[in-house]
């Protein structure tokens, strides 16, 4: 069976990210990774913050996302700079969840140095907060900066891992479904026009559904495996903080970005 591994914060040290990179397991969920009270503080601050439109208004977010700036580095780095100031305000006076995630990863991989990705003195965006409203879903897709981010130095990483911290859950839906199939370039023939892939791409692949997330849960996964988020229902928005980790194995270095 291809099943997620659920642990709590105290069990982080014994976890191997290699099992995610190799696809042996679909993901690790660290329950109560970030405290619920701080999640609520962040949510309250987000509500007071202006939110950008994304994907023709289908999604909203705070902070830029590299994959939507694949040919516009200048704008991405400008927005990334601005986002750092916004995140400083949102996380002011509470434990910064981005730092907490980096610390958690460092506990799993103490031999690696971890830092925010940068290029010619330009910092990448440290994270993205996504706000998904009633009726929204995310179709089958992968995230692979080595393929999609060719214009960025970051595309030279060896491996990519995704970290998603759940800050607020909707009443229902918003489940993460992962498929036991890695993207390969030939799969581009299954692409949908705007975003994502036809379900034909994961035909007969084993899948794993993760639901019942709570505020403070951290999901760590290999985003080159196809995944989707089911339709969100209810009046409460689903809010997550996402960031990627890029591994340079030879240099024992991890860089972060969104």
């Amino acid at each position: 069976m291809w099943e997620i591994v659920e642990i709590n914060r105290l069990q982080v040290d014994g976890i191997s990210l290699q099992s995610i990179l190799s696809g042996k397991i679909p993901a690790i969920v660290i329950r109560n990774f970030y405290d619920e009270k701080s999640c609520q503080t962040i949510i309250n601050r987000i509500k007071n913050h202006s939110q950008n439109n994304f994907q023709n208004g289908k999604l909203r977010h705070i902070g830029p996302f590299l994959m939507s700036h694949t040919t516009d580095k200048k704008k991405y780095f400008e927005d990334a700079k601005q986002s750092q100031r916004i995140f400083e305000r949102i996380f002011c006076g509470i434990k910064n969840p981005i730092i907490q995630i980096c610390d958690g990863i460092n506990n799993m991989l103490p031999d690696y140095a971890i830092s925010l990705a940068s290029e010619f003195q330009n910092d990448y965006s440290p994270a993205i907060i996504r706000i998904h409203e009633n009726g929204k879903s995310i179709p089958i897709h992968k995230d692979n900066v080595r393929f999609e981010g060719k214009e960025y130095a970051l595309s030279g990483i060896d491996h990519q891992i995704s970290c998603v911290l759940h800050l607020q859950e909707s009443e229902s839906g918003g489940d993460l479904v992962m498929y036991d199939k890695q993207w390969k370039k030939e799969d581009e023939k299954f692409r949908n026009i705007d975003f994502g892939y036809s379900s034909n791409v994961i035909e007969s692949s084993e899948s794993c559904k993760m639901s019942n997330f709570s505020a403070g849960d951290l999901v760590i996964m290999n985003p080159n495996y196809y995944h989707k988020v089911t339709k969100i229902t209810g009046d409460t928005t689903r809010i997550t903080l996402g960031m990627f980790l890029g591994f340079y194995q030879k240099d024992s270095k991890i860089v972060t970005w969104a």
Binding site: F65, M67, S68, T70, D143, E186, E188, R191, F195, V229
Partner: protein, 95 residues
């Protein structure tokens, strides 16, 4: 309104032309398009392709278009049947 087709790049013919295996066509296109169309790029928005056209070459174009999912906004079809259009990447990342 401009006709739009989408598909995957296959054979590169020169530093600015390639074959597109057409998988999607915009509803309301004025013209018909076959499942395989030769395209001359008149402008581009493709990751990895230099902004300056004089820097384009076959090798660079191969890395940018082969198998990649592409959008082509058709400007016209020339007298030899080749399409001229703006070629760009299509879609952005998610979860």
């Amino acid at each position: 309104m401009t006709d739009i087709i989408w598909g995957n790049g296959s054979k590169v013919l020169s530093g600015n032309s390639f074959v597109l295996n057409v998988t999607h066509r915009k509803d309301g296109n004025k013209h018909d398009y076959s499942d395989s169309e030769k395209i001359i790029i008149i402008s581009a928005d493709l990751p990895g392709l230099p902004h300056n056209e004089s820097d384009w070459n076959e090798e660079t174009l191969k890395t940018c278009v082969i198998d990649a999912f592409l959008k082509c906004e058709v400007s016209k079809r020339d007298e030899t049947g080749i399409l001229l259009g703006k070629v760009s990447h299509s879609g952005a990342g998610g979860y």
